[in-house]
């Protein structure tokens, strides 16, 4: 938090991405990896961190180049920058974490079309200085990581009776296979959004009551 006190902008932008404008629950961005890889908590964490890596660096570089890139060709330019970082993380994972790469599969390559990254490049990094864009990338990335980790913990808990591979459910528990399949993903996310909306409403009601 020392960082935040010296430069309020940095911390504010970071928290905005992490909580206030959480990409999954508020902006509804990046839904495909959110649903596709969240069958186990470990997959959720690693997908989130890989996306954060790409988001931080693409935001930083797009922000550094924002005055050089002509407006008309900005979309192809952004895509090339983003795709370069995706290729980097893909190759790094193939070299050091081949098992994880095999599980996540095409979704790593598909980070390039994750709308979070594109949306942040277009709406934030293209208009703000590098340091703030870095904070935005970090906040949005970690916000995404937290929400998909939460979703994957719930799905793993009910679908396999474990969290991060450790059995937590009693022996007699029958895993619900459907949680690991496509319908489970949709329905869990739907119910989580109900919960988030509910909490938000309760919080704003309390704020109004106080004011």
């Amino acid at each position: 938090m020392a960082e935040a006190r010296r430069n309020p902008g940095f911390g504010g932008v970071f928290m905005n991405g992490l909580i206030t404008e959480n990409p999954t629950f508020t902006l509804m961005l990046g839904m495909c990896p959110t649903l596709g890889v969240t069958t186990a908590a470990m997959n959720g964490v690693s997908m989130g961190l890989a996306t954060t890596f790409v988001l931080v660096f693409s935001n930083l570089f797009i922000s550094l180049l924002r005055n050089i890139i002509p407006d008309k060709v900005r979309i192809p330019a952004y895509i090339v920058i983003i795709a370069s970082f995706v290729t980097m993380i893909d190759l790094i994972m193939q070299a050091f974490l081949p098992d994880l790469r095999a599980v996540l599969g095409t979704y790593i390559q598909l980070i390039v079309v994750n709308c979070i990254i594109f949306a942040r490049a277009e709406s934030f990094a293209a208009k703000n200085p590098p340091l703030l864009s870095l904070a935005d990338g970090l906040g949005m990335g970690l916000g995404f990581t937290v929400s998909i980790t939460l979703l994957s913990c719930i799905r793993e808990l009910f679908g396999s009776g474990s969290i991060f591979g450790f059995s937590v459910m009693p022996e007699a528990y029958q895993p619900m296979a459907i949680m690991n399949m496509v319908p489970g993903g949709f329905i869990t996310l739907g119910l989580m959004m109900v919960l988030v909306n509910f909490i938000k409403k309760a919080l704003s009601a309390r704020k109004e009551a106080r004011a």
């Binding site: 495909c32 959110t34 979309i75 290729t87 390559q109 319908p183």
Partner: protein, 191 residues
């Protein structure tokens, strides 16, 4: 011939990209509020995916593989798709202005529709030839359109029905999509 039949049934029903594999969820949820716009989006995506499958196969076979540049696949494919979407937009503007106006808003969105890239990459991974790739692209796009239209139809009905307040909008659509996915699982053993 049997390969093509397998691709047709496989991509539309059994391995539907949206309902069975979680690709293209953003447009699936984003543009499924009205049936007409869903149809427009579906048509635009079908066109782009079909042409993109054709071109990315050529790029992979004649540029990337001969020069041992397979690691540039992501960059090359996404550039092809971005350029293609831009071209389609320009061509439509000149050739059929009414269609351009109908689809206009959705065209730029197609670049970040992950079905397009996923189909292109899977065509290569599955080892299809040029004709099979193009056909598989076309069928996957039909599958996407089918899922989109089904959800749009249901959501139009949901608008006028008496839903609990906390279920309206995205949560309701997500749970509905989950139930649709259960139905699609029924096609599982077809091929």
């Amino acid at each position: 011939m049997s390969t093509f039949l397998a691709i047709l049934v496989g991509q539309i029903l059994v391995n539907n990209y949206v309902m069975c594999q979680f690709f293209g969820i953003c447009p699936f949820l984003g543009v499924s509020k009205k049936f007409d716009t869903a149809l427009g989006m579906g048509l635009a995506v079908t066109f782009v995916i079909t042409v993109a499958s054709f071109i990315t196969w050529l790029v992979q076979s004649f540029v990337l593989t001969p020069f041992h540049l397979e690691y540039l696949q992501t960059i090359a494919f996404i550039l092809v798709i971005a350029v293609l979407v831009q071209l389609v937009e320009m061509a439509l503007k000149k050739l059929s202005y009414s269609l351009y106006q109908a689809l206009g808003v959705y065209l730029p969105l197609i670049t970040t529709n992950c079905v397009v890239l996923a189909v292109a990459i899977n065509n290569i991974t599955d080892g299809y030839n040029l004709l099979e790739s193009t056909f598989s692209g076309f069928c996957s796009a039909l599958g996407f359109t089918l899922a989109l239209l089904l959800l749009a139809g249901i959501r139009e009905r949901m608008e006028v029905s008496n839903m609990p307040k906390w279920m309206q909008g995205f949560p309701g659509a997500l749970i509905m999509a989950g139930l649709m996915a259960v139905a699609f699982m029924g096609f599982g053993g077809l091929i």
